[in-house]
């Protein structure tokens, strides 16, 4: 069960409105790597965690924080839209190219649908959806996904940081950047801890290593004509999981037979001789 306070985790006050920027910030609300994704990813991981204790408690701490990040961004977007020229008409556009440009670059749904507020969509207006999240039950696989999400999130926040010179916007983003740093480090630390606790190895899941075709578990296949694919540490030496040796296959040939589809069912009317 959840409780809410109307105070924001951190301040979200722009110095002045900026309708273009309000559109761009939607990426951090409803984009594939926005705050809604980490909120839902962590909530479902917490609920789906099969082991009581420190990992589950940590996941739910962070999940609960993330709902508040959506709240900060939603508040910021509404404030950036204050006084936006939503009702500008064609005549006004013809007279003032700056107004015209601002209108053109706005998210029309922020005005028409939300009345000057945020939507649950990304910066192109595409709605957030539940396939953006993963909660597999395997903590290593999921923590890798969490690092990835926080890394893309921090990268997008950094890009957006340079697209505004508003001190209020930048103040909030400095907090967001720091939280993305903290969370990225945290999941990296949790991955180490999983391994030190003997719960997982480097590769997820820790299973079926003795059943997989191990002769194919360390090779890199040369299939594009770049010449330097064999010059990194992935081309020789022990693998990070400590269980295999890397090698780079310069000459590659298919191992399987011809790709063919079986004779068709006559009642499905495939073209056939």
């Amino acid at each position: 069960m959840f409780r809410h306070t109307s105070h924001l985790q951190f301040e979200a006050k722009p110095e002045k409105p900026d309708a273009h920027y309000a559109r761009k910030l939607q990426e951090l609300i409803g984009g594939a790597y926005g705050e809604m994704t980490v909120t839902m990813q962590y909530l479902f991981q917490g609920w789906n965690c099969r082991m009581e204790g420190k990992y589950k408690d940590l996941i739910l701490d962070v999940a609960t924080e993330e709902i508040g990040h959506v709240e900060m961004l939603a508040t910021m977007v509404a404030r950036l839209l204050e006084g936006a020229p939503a009702e500008t008409t064609a005549d006004m556009v013809d007279k003032d190219p700056v107004v015209a440009a601002i209108i053109g670059g706005m998210d029309p749904q922020q005005a028409i649908v939300s009345g000057g507020g945020p939507t649950l969509s990304d910066s192109n207006g595409v709605p957030w959806n539940g396939r953006y999240i993963v909660a597999s039950g395997n903590l290593l696989a999921d923590f890798y996904a969490n690092v990835a999400a926080e890394a893309q999130g921090r990268l997008q926040t950094a890009r957006l940081y340079n697209m505004s010179d508003d001190p209020g916007v930048r103040d909030m983003l400095k907090f967001n950047l720091a939280r993305d740093t903290a969370h990225q480090n945290m999941w990296l630390a949790a991955i180490e801890e999983l391994q030190e606790d003997g719960l997982e190895g480097a590769v997820a899941p820790s299973a079926l290593f003795d059943e997989e075709h191990s002769e194919h578990a360390g090779t890199i296949w040369h299939l594009s004509d770049g010449t330097q694919g064999n010059q990194g540490r992935w081309a020789s030496g022990p693998t990070p999981d400590g269980m295999h040796e890397f090698s780079y296959l310069q000459e590659t040939e298919p191992l399987g037979g011809k790709a063919s589809a079986p004779a068709p069912d006559p009642l499905l009317y495939a073209t056939s001789p």
Copy 2:
């Protein structure tokens, strides 16, 4: 530019058809972590890579391999569907509960739409889409995403491995498992290499550390009532990026003001006093 041989990278021949399993395998074709996702993720990362050389060459080697994985799975699905009772009618269902059950558990579109072949959808029939991939231009952020994708991919393959006892199916999956192991190790090695080459640190992107609010870059906020969230290495000590100290904030209070939306635009007709 690409070239194609009709021979599969590895054999994909089931011993006998299994219509239920053909549906489940769709997850590895068109699921969020299926082979189409890594195919497109790596292709776009390769095309979007801003640095010629070993990383770009590696990415394109692997991207090209992945198209062939989609091909193997597509071929396997068609073969698993051979002789599937697509035309079974209500009468037959009433008479034979096993036939009834098989019909009920099939993906109807594999028969009605594809004539006994695969679709570009997941195991629930939801189409694959372009938001599953990421190619940000930042190799560290993207390689984390690649590790995550290969980890979820190997996990799903391992689960599917236990859902079949067909020797042909299992033989192919043993190859797939091994390739997922190889690729997971490879991206982990590439992350180390990026750091050793001095191109990236542990946290992506390597920027704005001196502008972010650093007092918030190492704290974990206690916001759920679990009591053990402070018992891992994320609760104290140096962060993996070597630049911060972890601390666990047991008592947490909002730092921001009240979340409020600005006065509405009268022409947008929000309810207001």
Copy 3:
């Protein structure tokens, strides 16, 4: 079965083209509360209605009208796009900022895909989809949804009304506003009629009131820290359905046990001790 006349239900002639506005009007064609939604919602409600007579006949009258509303808007969009600078090039953009702004604010698919006509998408270009509609078979539940749809529709139309000063556009929108008023009133009247006919009560569905945990059927839980949530008529007194008493629970505690997930299936490889 349907028949069509090429005459519009009401005139849809702009005085002059306006490419920006053509994009915005897409919201009323293919948005979640656009004319396609009410068209399909009412058609499926009509076909799914389990009672011959006045309700079914009314639903199908209105459903049939709504197809014609899509037609009016589609015609208006094509006319607003006449002469739109679809082929403007970078050179022209550099020379004339107003042209530049107009190009920037256009829906590119109206030119590239539809050749100067409407698409079946909203104002951000997201396609209309079948999950926007509901036809549950329960007329009360559906009529509530119809009131809601007409209310959002009228609200969006009112906002769009202020974004144009073209007399022809406004003339059509004055008709649309009036029809949304009529339909909103009509569904409100139909809700009253359902109750007077003894077919439904105030709450949908009229079932299971004696099985639900009635001690929880009138309480409002205080879970956010606002102090005035208890100051409306929802905080005490009889409920609109006449069957319960409202009360506001100032002190709230969870009634359930701990949220925990069961022991995992070993073959699904969840992380576990």
Copy 4:
């Protein structure tokens, strides 16, 4: 900002697992009218509310409760899946038709993707998305949408109630039914309160009544051939908003000119004479 306790708002313990039912319950998690929809709809309405005080406080109270409803359902789904025959193979299917049927009716992603837990999808596996919610800033329009959502939600819960005879499942659903009753009544009461406070009328929004074509604001057009569409209170008498008179137009003719598209732009290559 939010806080979380691991205790559920109400108990969610099935007496025994039921894999088919775990799939069906997904509708209440990630369906268009499931708990995620009301959670996000109320959160965004609260954040977008332009008037401090009782309405905003109420919305945020309820929004916060709804997150906990998602939590209850997610927990229930995981428990219903305990011991589900995820790894059943074709051989087992051939031998036991009941097992076969259960496998066939399961959501494959609950096993393959979530490892025996819930997904953020509906009962057909289609992901929840952000277009399901509305937060327009106009409280009347939104409260109508809220009544509609709670009505569909209670209807679906009632249907699901009859699809299980598990005492634990039914106990939780009795709570859910009661909350849907409470919330449905609450939004109905809030609509009355808005009108009594003089903030809104019966029709949303309370604007442009003097500009709309008022001669079309009370008519029902006879366009389908049912004969009883004129027999309800919507066919004559005052409208619920008290501002118009209903009338039923038995003979209907289009008021507009021919629907025609303008001459095409030659560079867009429409077929033209």
Copy 5:
């Protein structure tokens, strides 16, 4: 503007219910090539047609018919669901494998969401969407799309025909098959007519033939290792448009330079040396 009669274009009465088949028929309602697609495709083509006269009139005749096809299928689905065991519980499933199988193979939303009626989704429950249609303004390009849609539609109908032995279902499908034959022939005839009228050629659009790189307008590139790609009429001789000569390029080499991405913008933080 449209009008409606409650009589179906053709009878849609199954002899007895069949819940499995009701799910499969959804493909013809809301699938990518179902009746909703042709309805909307033809309506938007008609409204977007830039030439008054026979083509536009024909398109709108057929568009109007197609709405009635959706109606027939929606009616059929509701009737096939009559008495479907929607409320079957786990106990009943354990006792009767045929009931179990039927439950497992049903579309759960037809019961939970629609109360025993159709949805606007395909046979996997994925909602129909507006990107399935095309109305480009170019009649040749669109008529090719129409032939394609009617061909896939007839193919899917033919497959579904073999999945039922209910005389009532088959009677309706015999009508549907015939209409798909008629419409497929009709669009083929309309393509001939466009060419005879001198409005279009064989290739759409009839433009830019003198600007395109004509040396590449007749060649087939050998890029896969099949050996018989050069054995059809596409490998030599005049092209169907009468303007080019086919040739098969056995030895193929890329004509362009290396695929490389430009130097990155430093503020976007791509990994770079």
Copy 6:
């Protein structure tokens, strides 16, 4: 299995960047008729082809070429975005309307998400998805879809050709136009060949002609009020398949009974008397 060379099939070098155009070109990458669609459509058709030989070999030749077309466009988009003013702030917008307009018309995700590269979306930012493709197993039905796709593709390319005057962009598009011409002709020739080989007729599929209600297989129903729908070759004379006679039904009446839904299941709570 596939192989890749880093050389492009044709050059893709703009003379100078153009951020607006980079957005528009997305339509050819991730639009419903872009290069990704034909890539995947042909790959799945090739893998699903039930007849070894010339048709399958041709399909896979062309499929393999198409992957390279995506590559050309992805490369072009990255180059068009070089130096795009992604970091422009509100101040800069206020000062320079041309910059403002360019910012407004850009795809924000090309900067925020992809770091100056392409996405797998269309020109409105909607992600490409797997429902855009068809691979039915019936070659005639699929080749009609291929002609349609190439026709829409060439039409969109022609429109985009006129939206740029950059010699490098135009040079690439001249190649693309030519390939679309070649492929359109090729599929038209393949359709002729199928018929000459006696594998298919004019209408797909070549089945059930003797079971369909043949009296409805040649009629056009007059259902809209246009007067010239009967003036084309579709109104009389033999049908293209040589098996029927066209006729135009001027007076049309429904053939079926009333559309009605069956009595509802009481446990689904439809409103009923």
